[in-house]
Symmetry: C2
Subunit: 324 residues, 2 copies
């Protein structure tokens, strides 16, 4: 492989000069700069990020640690993190924890060996606080992690939006399919939903499961099995995946959505807009979350782009309507 020395020799300059050109250092004279640039192209010189990283004790990489890349929300997050990162000249090291704290720990230990500039992590939902530590810039996304700054949608307020929407449509028999109670995110969404409803004098039935399709279907069947006069006219879920599972349950029971049942989800995954009927849901600003997380860890967090809670928005589509 051709290295910086080859380039220097070929261009009859010192390696220092080549390095300065690489760094877009302004102090290099115009002629020399152009000569060096030409030589770089001519020799097809590809600077070693590894040597650079060793010297600077920091590579142009950011570690992204997520529980599950097949979850559409995290896939979306990864997509935008990668886009922001590569925009800024950084590579992303992907690590998948499967929501297992043990794996999270060892994965992060491995990541740290590469001297990344920063770490963006969606922590595992359960279990003890992670016990790794390092002094590199770290930000938590979606879920709280120790004292690291958190970038996330406002789950509480977002769920409140969903409740309000159902209320405004005139629903009174409302049920809620929650996520696991051990998950803080799940608790916040649930509380946001319930608080709003209770403030309106309504006490919804709440069932609890996982965030996945399966849970939505199973719990949905349960909720919808009651006699028509007590059966909920609207069900909100803690995730779009649950909502989609719920739709399936409704269809199995010959219930028309939204005629016989209104459904509202949470997350606004791409699929939400593709199923029939299109799902009314609470949208997370994923792209913004990703951009902020990246900006934060690479130190570009200008004032105003700090960590913090971002607003969710209500996206009204075809799965909700007034009760009949």
């Amino acid at each position: 492989m051709v290295n910086i020395k080859d380039v220097a020799a070929r261009a009859n300059v010192s390696v220092g000069t080549v390095s300065r050109v690489l760094a877009k250092n302004e102090t290099v004279g115009k002629e020399l700069r152009e000569l060096v640039e030409a030589t770089i192209r001519e020799l097809n010189f590809r600077p070693s990020g590894v040597a650079r990283g060793l010297r600077r004790s920091r590579t142009d990489m950011i570690g992204l640690v997520i529980p599950d890349i097949t979850n559409p929300f995290f896939a979306e997050l990864a997509k935008h993190v990668e886009a922001s990162a590569s925009q800024a000249g950084f590579s992303v090291l992907l690590s998948i924890t499967n929501d297992d704290p043990k794996i999270e720990l060892s994965q992060i230990e491995t990541l740290l060996r590469s001297y990344p500039t920063g770490l963006i992590v969606v922590p595992t939902q359960f279990g003890a606080p992670a016990k790794w530590q390092s002094d590199i810039a770290t930000v938590a996304v979606d879920r709280r992690l120790k004292n690291y700054p958190l970038i996330s949608v406002d789950h509480y307020a977002g769920a409140g939006l969903a409740a309000q929407h159902l209320l405004q449509l005139g629903h009174r028999r409302i049920a809620y399919i929650a996520g696991p109670n051990e998950s803080p995110v799940s608790r916040e969404r649930r509380k946001g939903f319930l608080d709003t409803l209770i403030a309106a004098g309504i006490q919804p039935e709440v069932v609890e499961g996982h965030f996945d399709y399966q849970s939505g279907e199973v719990l949905g069947k349960h909720l919808l099995s009651s006699p028509e006069d007590v059966r909920p006219t609207a069900i909100a879920t803690a995730s779009d995946q649950q909502a989609i599972g719920l739709m399936r349950a409704a269809s199995d029971l010959d219930l028309k959505v939204p005629d016989n049942l209104s459904i509202i989800g949470f997350d606004d995954i791409p699929l939400a807009n593709l199923i029939t009927p299109r799902l009314t849901t609470i949208s997370q600003p994923v792209e913004q979350i990703a951009a902020r997380a990246v900006a934060f860890v690479i130190g570009e967090n200008a004032a105003g782009t700090n960590a913090g809670l971002l607003d969710a928005t209500l996206v009204i589509r075809n799965s909700t309507a007034a009760p009949r």
Copy 2:
């Protein structure tokens, strides 16, 4: 940060010995080895992968280059690649090309700066052959890339399986929703499907679009708009996403699946098993593909685990039935 020298000093051994312990080199005496291991733990020593990489001209990373992480098939692939890689002690550098050859080129150039041990790439579908080059182990997945070994399902035979299934159910008026004709994968699937049908004396109607939900829906509406006596009783698609879009089209036209229309997809994405009705489809051995790709680039390709075409399997679920 504590380094190998600190460990050596603390344990009163040479750095060479520490390095050998790190490398699990058997030639280190038991006592010394244990002493060093204890010291490593005591000092919380985390060896620098960067220094190691520089010295060896190769890091314990593999680059994964895919068009779109939000595509369920690629997400699944990424998941298993990450699992296999971290199993073997490798990190994965994720790169997303958005199916843009320009981006692919620059992303790969960036990846190469990190001296990865290997590259697993799902090349962009269209455009000229990529013009980057390097001497590190590279394998193409799903789609052909120059002369690199290809690991992929047998698209042609897989599509043939779908055709056979429809034939066996008794369908005669069959249509096919293909992927873009510029995509070799798309062409193989289409040819596999058509060849089988034509051999049975049937000439299906073929429409062409993209691999996404949208295309399935739009093209499906078109196919299903013909009068009932000429309308296809079964439609196969080049992807599950198209099949799901097609289901939506059918539902909009009040056609029951599989009573009035049989649908068979391709890929077996997780969602295929969750929608209503569950989708009959051709399953790709994604996990196996990922494992082989990783084994190949890290040089563990023992005889028998070579690159090559893997078998697709027919997964019969509820979206196909005999015509009425």
